[in-house]
Amino acid sequence: MNSTHQPGSASADFHLAIGLRDTGWHPGSWFRIPAAQEVFTPQYWGSLAQTAEASGADLVTFDDSLGLQRQGQLDASLVAAWVGARTSRIGLVPTLTTTHTEPFHLSKNIATLDYISSGRAGWLAEVSATAEESALFGRGRDDLDAESLYAEASDVVDVARRLWDSWEDDAEIRDSATGRFVDREKLHYIDYEGERFTVKGPSITPRPPQGQPVVALQGSGSAQLKAAAQQADLLFLSAASLEETTGLLEKVRAVESETGRSGAPLLVFVDLQVLIEPTAEAAQARLAELNEAAGEDNAAGQQQVIGTSAEVAERIQQIAAAGFSGVRLLPAEHHTDLPRIAEELSPQLTEAGVVVGSEQPLRFRLGLEAAPNRYADGENQPALAGGAA
């Protein structure tokens, strides 16, 4: 049950993710869509997700924040829920932030996405680091430094995970003989008391199909790495070059041992922005157009391939060879680059054995083990992801 891959597959442990954010990752992409309004329609997101699914990618992330980015954005968790009802294979990983939203609400939101998608839910946990976002909630917080925010994020994920386990899988019994719908011995108070908040539990939503939906973090600072090592299954690393990213991977492993992570090591994906054209010249020409539309150069801080699909495929193989678990492709322009990922890049990756699609729950698709329930049998089992006691 723990591996979805065929024996002998050359890259059995390498995975493909696609990151989506409004019109694409290049800021100029906003100015090159037919109508700005389409970004706020479900058809737009459904079509992107179906293209991503057709590419064989294991998962798609939906970028979001509480504050205004560019020209506005819909709530990612609800976009993912809509998409969940219209797709059947791809993992769905929306961004939900931990700084202002109630941990209880976050937990049931992701659990419900897991129900809607039959076990394809993940959560990209982010923080809200700006004073502007605090003002949206009327909260004058003075602890908006990365260390405090990610320490809190770690606690929030910990609580969400406990709430997911707060119903045992077989809690619903429908026992006519005793008139009992649930076995209350299999429902658990989590009684969480942390520095910043307390949560009683149990959840209102039963344990989701995956038991523990996949939790991801992104970033490369030490606060992010620590929180990821403590609570996440997956980390998206952003750095400007493969060398730099490889150096960060060593740091991730060091932080894992410092934090005493138990269970599977973090799956570490590299962020790679892509702009795909048939020739290198055409790619550079489109980049110039995008830069001009945006009125700025794209200083992404991510690795980029501006070139042909063969060049992207080659870079991905280098990333795989460097010991990473996967790559997250960030299309410069959704309209143009996402179909090219599906139609041109994906067949090359499949041929090279880099992409192996399957229809398992997301956990298994990523090679994670089934998640034990920490409350089952009255024993406090360690959480699969690590840190949580």
Binding site: Q73, A81, G84
Partner: protein
């Protein structure tokens, strides 16, 4: 005015977390799996309903300090379920109950605006508040809200949300900065979702107190009530509509929608038989004891449900033994006396007595009888329509959809197709 009969508004309440929902019936499916919600919603849409309605709970109910285990318990999260349903329905309104106490306006406004975009203008929000510390234990602020501040918070919350929805120009563009200050809130910034297709998603309110009625009259587009009986209903209807006028609004801009249970049989007498069976199914021996514990406020687990009523007196001094739902008995001694009299007169044991006190379903009869009753209620202003609460998940709406809906259509009180591109406001006739 034309001679057109008043149109009937129909809502479909996904079966709830209480003993109305009969889980022991073999036809009763999951109330968690998305498939159940999809089937239920599509059933409502086949019946040309105006909207689907979801209730909400934020803490599992308890009795005697333990989680209540006799009824359906647990539910998925309201917002993602409605967003998922937006993907598998085309016309049906999607109404969700969201608590104004344990949420903040920016987030709720954002989620409803997003839902309204994802559904093409079909979102509705049933605004509720709670002040109980019991539920508060699941949230950062705990039970912070004073009981008499509930409607203050609700009203300010809705005003804040409307302020946010109004910050974008209609088409694409950039939002104006907002600022909202009140006794409960002090928020500012820029909202990141364009104005929803409906302008403002439809606002529901469910509350019967004078403050609740005033809140609805001033702020809401529809009021969810329990007054479905003709005499009481007409009085409630007239009262609420006059309050709407008092706030300077068109009385037609607030719809009065009682929640109703229903049983449909081939004939009236068959329906009566089924109705009695369902009432008995809704009250197992354990449920009977539990309902009596809510009156006695005592542990009655040592009593035999098939034996006589408890011979002790209710405890009116001690703290309430149940939590997570509103207390429903105001005079326990009078209630107990009434039950004893009933039991003696009819020779009923404990469980039979409780079954006998269960309210009859609101509408019982043949399809024709039920259709007539509904049409009559709407024409005589008992209500503007009804929210149906079936007792079976997810197929409980089907008998109504298959047998009563065609009769309502024949009589010209229910649409025979959905208008192309209609928003929920269009369906309900409540312009922004």
């Amino acid at each position: 005015m034309s001679d057109q009969p008043r149109q009937v508004i129909l809502g479909a309440h996904f079966p709830g977390v209480n003993n109305t929902t009969v889980w022991s019936d073999p036809a009763s499916g999951s109330h968690i799996d998305f498939e159940s919600f999809r089937k239920f919603a599509q059933s409502a849409e086949r019946g040309f309903f105006d909207f689907l309605f979801l209730a909400e709970g934020l803490r599992l109910r308890e009795q005697k300090g333990r989680i209540h285990d006799l009824d359906v318990v647990g539910r998925p999260d309201t917002f993602p379920v409605l967003a998922g349903l937006a993907a598998v329905t085309e016309h049906l309104g999607l109404a969700g109950t969201i608590n104004a106490t344990f949420n903040e306006p920016y987030e709720v406004a954002r989620q409803f605006a997003s839902l309204d975009h994802l559904s093409g203008g079909r979102a509705a929000w049933n605004v509720v508040t709670s002040s109980d510390a019991f539920t508060g234990e699941n949230f950062r602020r705990g039970g912070y809200l004073e009981h008499d501040q509930r409607y203050v918070r609700a009203e300010e919350f809705v005003k804040a949300a409307k302020t946010l929805w109004d910050t974008w120009p209609d088409a694409a563009g950039e939002p104006e900065p907002f600022e909202y200050q009140s006794t409960q809130f002090d928020i500012r910034g820029r909202f990141n979702v364009p104005t929803p297709p409906q302008g403002h998603p439809v606002i529901f309110q469910a509350g019967d107190s004078p403050q609740g009625r005033d809140f609805a009259a001033a702020n809401a587009d529809a009021i969810f009530t329990r007054h479905s009986e003709p005499e009481v209903g007409r009085k409630f209807y007239a009262d609420v509509k006059s309050r709407v006028e008092k706030f300077g609004r068109d009385p037609e801009s607030l719809k009065v929608l009682p929640g109703i249970s229903f049983i449909i049989g081939d004939t009236d007498s068959e329906a009566e038989e089924i109705a009695a069976e369902v009432r008995a199914q809704q009250v197992s021996g354990q449920t009977a004891l539990l309902l009596l514990e809510q009156i006695w406020n005592r542990d009655l687990s040592s009593y035999d449900p098939e034996g006589p009523l408890p011979d002790i007196e209710p405890d009116t001094e001690g703290p309430s033994i149940f939590a997570g739902r509103a207390r429903q008995v105001t005079d326990p001694h009078a209630e107990v006396a009434k039950l004893r009299k009933l039991s003696e007169e009819k020779g009923l044991n404990l469980r039979e007595t409780v079954i006998d006190t269960q309210s009859r379903q609101s509408f019982i009869g043949s399809p024709q009888t039920v259709a007539d009753a509904i049409i009559d209620a709407v024409q005589t202003r008992v209500s503007d329509g009804f929210i149906l609460v079936p007792h079976i998940t997810p197929a409980g709406l089907e008998p109504f959809v298959q047998k009563v809906v065609p009769l309502l259509q024949e009589r010209g009180v229910l649409r025979t197709e959905y208008p192309e591109g209609a928003t929920l406001r269009d369906l309900l006739g409540v312009p922004r």
